[in-house]
């Protein structure tokens, strides 16, 4: 097996040299750099599975470097270290997706084991990607989450429409996941070997929009000297996703219609016709039929793009999908470290009652923010933003527990009890009628950090009266 590669990022040359020497003796192929900037340039090749990162860096800071490294695809696992060892920096690092934290001075045997574990994690991740690809047949649309009737209907339509070449029109409010539907349609089409090309028709005015769509010839207009191919050309044999098509001006609508009818277009400033074999998927948050009636959208273009129509239901009509979506976003969160955030039943209830005017996008942003801010890896009612608390009236509802597996009910109940009693595990165990050891075992099984919240330290404000406290 080839030696696993580790990139050491440390500002001090003495420590750097020592680390390289020691890690090489443990069998790692080690490289080293001085700054965060260099670390990113070095890692961009995608060939470095593990980075050992000192947090006290000049220029781009340690935490910034960590964030940028974890934003790569594929991302390396990052083990962070600091000479000024504080618990705070470790907690911050975990939030931004560090694999582990190692204090200095180093215990090299420990360090080597942690790096090995990080390396294994990278391998597991990459294997998981392969498995995910292999399981495509089993769960063909992993990003479209939900089991409500509305979303099932959407999935069935995607399933039928994807393998065809027919244009699809996706309608739905902002934030309902229209782009995900477009991606799923493309990924399961015969055109999937090419990337999906996306254009937001509402963002650009006519001249720029047409330049993006059709490109321009050298010297097409004053100042434009170079050749631009445009989306009709670069998306050839692929899929072009025209988002916000309802915003397209009548002038551009005519040009797009002509190109779609003839399968040919001209770059701006050129007389040469170029053939384009495109599948069009369009999306809008408007009622396009209504726009046609009002004369704002061309009827002939409507019928050309709306061969198959998919309506995305708003999130408020699919509240039952919220627990699954929350779970999904916690799982796919870019900052997700090793420990998964737990959500209390009350918090979940609130999330299920809130009407989500910004739909799934708002929910996702909310979960992302909360996972960065959450203390002790538990998301409670108190950590929810006021806007959500205000509109959702949390009630002791048993509905939220409907359709949950027994084990999940137990997990939520235990977390809630702990929460109510400031993570005093002994007291929680007494109330739950189990011994402390059993409680610890259960927590370990749920992946709740046993250190959890150090008893008595920084008690979270609780809305619950704490009788007997």
């Amino acid at each position: 097996m080839e030696p696993s590669k580790v990139l050491v990022v440390h500002p001090e040359s003495g420590i750097r040299a020592l680390l390289v020497r020691m890690l090489s003796s443990f069998g790692y192929a080690t490289k080293s750099v001085t700054t965060g900037e260099e670390a990113i340039e070095e890692t961009a090749s995608g060939e470095i599975p593990v980075v050992l990162l000192d947090l006290d860096l000049p220029g781009m800071s340690g935490p910034e470097t960590l964030r940028a490294l974890r934003a790569m695809a594929p991302a390396p696992e990052v083990v962070v270290t600091t000479g000024r060892g504080t618990v705070d920096s470790a907690a911050d690092a975990a939030r931004y997706g560090a694999f582990d934290f190692v204090p200095q001075p180093f215990d090299f045997k420990d360090l080597s084991q942690i790096l090995r574990a990080a390396y294994d994690q990278t391998l597991r991740h990459r294997q998981a990607q392969h498995i995910k690809a292999a399981l495509k047949a089993h769960d063909p649309f992993p990003d479209i989450v939900g089991k409500s009737t509305g979303i099932k209907r959407v999935l069935a339509l995607i399933h039928k429409a994807a393998p065809t070449h027919s244009p699809v029109l996706i309608q739905g409010e902002s934030g309902t996941g229209k782009e995900l539907v477009a991606r799923a349609l493309h990924a399961h089409s015969p055109r999937a070997k090419l990337p999906l090309t996306i254009l937001d028709c509402g963002a650009l005015q006519d001249t720029l929009l047409e330049s993006e769509l059709f490109g321009h010839e050298r010297g097409a207009f004053t100042g434009a000297h170079g050749l631009k191919h445009g989306l009709f050309e670069t998306a050839n044999e692929g899929t072009l996703f025209l988002d916000e098509i309802g915003e397209m001006s009548p002038a551009t609508q005519v040009k797009v219609l002509r190109a779609l009818q003839s399968g040919e277009f001209r770059r701006i400033g050129s007389n040469r016709q170029i053939r384009a074999d495109l599948r069009i998927i369009a999306a809008t948050n408007k009622d396009l039929r209504e726009e046609v009636k009002r004369g704002r959208f061309r009827e002939d273009l409507y019928y050309r793009i709306a061969v198959i129509e998919i309506h995305m239901p708003p999130l408020r009509e699919r509240g039952e999908d919220i627990p699954l979506l929350v779970e999904h976003f916690l799982h796919t969160n870019a900052y997700g470290g090793r420990q998964r955030l737990q959500v209390t039943t009350e918090a979940l209830n609130c999330l299920m009652t809130y009407p989500w005017p910004g739909n799934i996008r708002e929910l996702r942003n909310c979960i992302e923010r909360l996972s960065v801010l959450a203390e002790n890896q538990v998301l409670t009612v108190e950590s929810l933003p006021p806007s959500i608390l205000k509109s959702a009236q949390p009630k002791e509802s048993s509905d939220a527990l409907a359709d949950l597996p027994l084990e999940e009910v137990e997990r939520l109940h235990i977390l809630r009890t702990l929460e109510r009693h400031r993570w005093n595990k002994k007291r929680a165990a007494t109330i739950l009628g189990i011994d402390t050891k059993t409680l610890y075992n259960k927590l370990r099984r749920y992946g709740v950090p046993l250190g959890g919240r150090p008893d008595g330290e920084r008690p979270a404000p609780s809305r619950e009266p704490r009788a007997g406290d």
Binding site: E41, A44, E64, I198, G226
Partner: protein, 124 residues
């Protein structure tokens, strides 16, 4: 507004053109500098040269997209090969500028990007 180009004259002239449109402009010489700035400040748009020393524009785009998916990226390139343009399109950019371009085209694109970003509008 953030402008990233390794050519100082280009940084300068773009900054001046955008300042005339009352945009606050900051500049970065290298892609890693731009990435750092993006983590510290929220910009309304990024104007990014594709051919940069060190971390290239295309790699930078994919990192920046994950750090801030709502930041519109306007790409500038002098080498508009079909493959390059296709790769940039696939990475998802707001507008694709072929050098040499008119300052009018640039400012129009930047204004559209700022409007887009302000509207908080993102796909979905």
């Amino acid at each position: 507004m953030l402008v990233c180009d390794d050519d100082e004259r280009i940084r300068q002239s773009i900054s001046e053109a955008l300042a005339l449109e009352s945009f606050d402009v900051e500049t970065a010489e290298r892609a890693v500098d731009a990435i750092q700035k993006i983590m510290r400040t929220s910009y309304r748009a990024l104007v990014l040269d594709l051919k940069l020393p060190g971390l290239g524009g295309l790699d930078a785009i994919s990192i920046i997209k994950r750090l801030n998916e709502r930041l519109p990226i306007i790409v500038m390139t002098g080498h508009a090969s079909y493959e390059t343009e296709q790769a940039v399109r696939a990475a998802g950019v707001f507008y694709y500028l072929v050098k040499p371009f008119s300052l009018k085209e640039l400012t129009e694109a930047v204004k559209a990007a700022a409007r887009f970003q302000e509207g908080g509008k993102a796909r979905g």
